[in-house]
């Protein structure tokens, strides 16, 4: 019979953590307390832990309050997304893309659809391109609201006040997205060559109204935290990502931009109609937790600017290609294609190998969080455990994307 009180056998990650402690003891870096071989403790943080925002598990080696070593364990949300692609047509796969990085569904869909379009040589209609920009930027704001909101909740001083402010306003955005696509998070809105529906009547005015209000709301968020001494103490100078880390580990998104690297695919590798739009790539110079927070706040403002411009420039016309009324069967020629798309968290790449059939032969997502998470052992080691929580919140991980 199963003994439910028996100590479970440690898994590979815990064994690795214990092995590393033994190695460091053998090197003479062991305990300074007599009678103890070492004074380090291995603690499992997650997969069910309120501050990891999802099923991230960190096997943390602690020396008192100090983090000595971190081994991230992922895969708890693995849903075989890449395997599923083998048995689904290109069209059938669109709703599945939403579910990879579910906080920014519109952006993910765009990345996938854009890659297939490039592979099949389809050019979307001009009106569709502008609506895509609007949707992606709305979703970027909503995503940053989740990111900053939950991150500030991890830092005790504010409690959950910021979360409620941000989630309140995120509702306005989700309402807009729902009116357009019929769903709040799993949109299934993008189509090859265009979009599923045109904008409903009166939507543009509603969106404009929200864009007028949003900058004031963002000011309100900032007034809540920016001058809070405890907030600053916990953020400034903590968890610094250097530019060398950005190069070595392929860090992208706000994490890279906070370190002064102006890497933004909307500018460095412009796609869609972004070259026609005027916006700034927000960068900071220190690469610490506070700078990552600031980059996100600025990006929300820039997104508002982009949406306002796109609404002004929105051309008339169809949102779906006439020749592709029923784009259910698409057969791109054999070949392979990679496209990166600037997701709220960084470069969301889709790599597709086509063999000329209706199904993608091999599909791979290059997820920004997967790459950013890889830096964790280096980023968290040497910090206090409480700061480790703040730092991991500031990197903004979405486990759906990491585990796929």
């Amino acid at each position: 019979m199963l003994d439910q009180f028996a100590t479970p056998e440690p898994d590979e990650a815990v064994k690795l953590a214990l092995r590393r402690i033994e190695e460091s003891t053998a090197r003479g870096e062991g305990s300074d307390v007599e009678g103890l071989a070492f004074n380090e403790v291995v603690v499992n943080m997650g997969p069910q832990h309120p501050s990891t925002h999802g099923v991230l598990r960190l096997v943390v080696t602690l020396d008192g309050e100090l983090v000595k070593d971190v081994i991230p364990v992922i895969g708890y949300l693995h849903r075989c997304k890449e395997k599923l692609a083998e048995k689904r047509t290109y069209f059938q796969y669109i709703p599945i893309v939403d579910r990879t990085e579910y906080v920014a569904g519109m952006n993910c869909e765009w990345g996938y659809v854009m890659t297939v379009e490039k592979l099949a040589g389809i050019r979307p209609t001009r009106r569709a391109e502008f609506i895509r920009v609007i949707m992606a930027e709305l979703n970027r704001i909503a995503s940053h609201q989740v990111a900053v909101g939950t991150f500030t909740a991890d830092l005790a001083p504010l409690g959950t006040a910021m979360v409620f402010y941000m989630f309140r306003d995120r509702e306005y955005i989700l309402d807009l997205l729902e009116e357009v696509s019929g769903a709040r998070m799993m949109f299934n809105y993008f189509r090859f060559g265009g979009l599923r529906y045109d904008l409903p009547d009166g939507w543009v005015e509603k969106c404009r109204g929200l864009m007028k209000r949003l900058p004031k709301l963002i000011d309100e968020y900032e007034s809540l935290v920016q001058d809070n001494a405890i907030f600053l103490q916990r953020c400034v100078g903590k968890g610094v990502i250097s530019q060398q880390d950005v190069i070595d580990y392929g860090i992208t998104g706000p994490c890279a931009r906070a370190s002064g690297v102006a890497h933004d695919l909307r500018r460095t590798r412009p796609y869609s109609v972004y070259p026609e739009l005027d916006f700034e790539v927000c960068t900071e110079s220190h690469g610490d937790v506070f700078d990552r927070y600031q980059v996100r706040m600025q990006e929300m403002r820039e997104s508002v600017k982009i949406i306002e411009q796109a609404l002004d420039m929105l051309p008339k016309g169809p949102v779906q290609l006439g020749s592709l009324r029923a784009p259910y069967v698409i057969t791109p020629p054999p070949g392979e294609c990679y496209t990166g798309q600037e997701n709220p968290r960084g470069e969301y790449g889709t790599y597709i190998v086509s063999d000329g059939s209706r199904y993608p032969y091999r599909l791979k997502f290059r997820d920004p969080c997967f790459c950013n998470l890889q830096l964790f052992p280096k980023l968290l080691s040497g910090n206090k455990i409480a700061d480790a929580v703040a730092i991991s919140g500031s990197v903004d991980l979405v486990l759906g994307g990491i585990d796929r």
């Binding site: 890449e82 190069i247 392929g250 002064g260 110079s285 790599y351 091999r362 997967f370 790459c371 890889q374």
Partner: protein
């Protein structure tokens, strides 16, 4: 202050020609994939050496590894390395052919640290063994999972996941 992007802009054809000339012994089939990627095949034995030289290249310098993808091409496996050059703001896609009978290739972890997890994923999913990798464990699937699901000949059965 910042890390500059695109300080040494070069034409795609020029980059492809330079790579083909400078790595004539190891890189074959060098071609340009519009708009910004050079695609090349690399000999398996030379991979690590080529990776080092590509990273250290003075004018192009592929310094960042974007991702590694394992692909099952039925006859053989392929390890695809997607690397980024900050100086020219372009990509390079390196295809390394790996025979199925001996699915092994040198790790590039020590050249591009980012390769660590991507190689683990490729091992997990496609079953390419990266020689010299410091910690080649499964990453997305459980430790006791049997088989490599993104192989085209993979057949799923209950025995493959004992703790499901």
């Amino acid at each position: 202050m910042g890390l500059e992007i695109g300080t040494n802009p070069m034409d795609m054809d020029v980059i492809a020609a330079r790579l083909a000339a400078e790595f004539a012994a190891d890189l074959t089939d060098v071609r340009v994939q519009e708009p910004d990627t050079v695609v090349a095949r690399c000999a398996r034995a030379a991979l690590k050496d080529v990776a080092r030289r590509l990273k250290a290249h003075a004018e192009i310098g592929y310094e960042t590894l974007n991702f590694v993808a394992g692909v099952d091409k039925v006859g053989h496996l392929e390890s695809v390395y997607h690397v980024y050059s900050w100086k020219t703001n372009t990509y390079l896609e390196l295809h390394v052919e790996v025979p199925k009978a001996k699915a092994e290739v040198d790790t590039v972890c020590d050249v591009w640290p980012a390769a660590d997890w991507h190689e683990r994923e490729s091992w997990d999913m496609v079953g390419i063994r990266y020689l010299g990798h410091p910690d080649l464990r499964r990453i997305l699937l459980k430790d006791d999972f049997v088989g490599h699901p993104l192989r085209k000949d993979y057949v799923d059965s209950a025995e493959n996941h004992p703790h499901a």
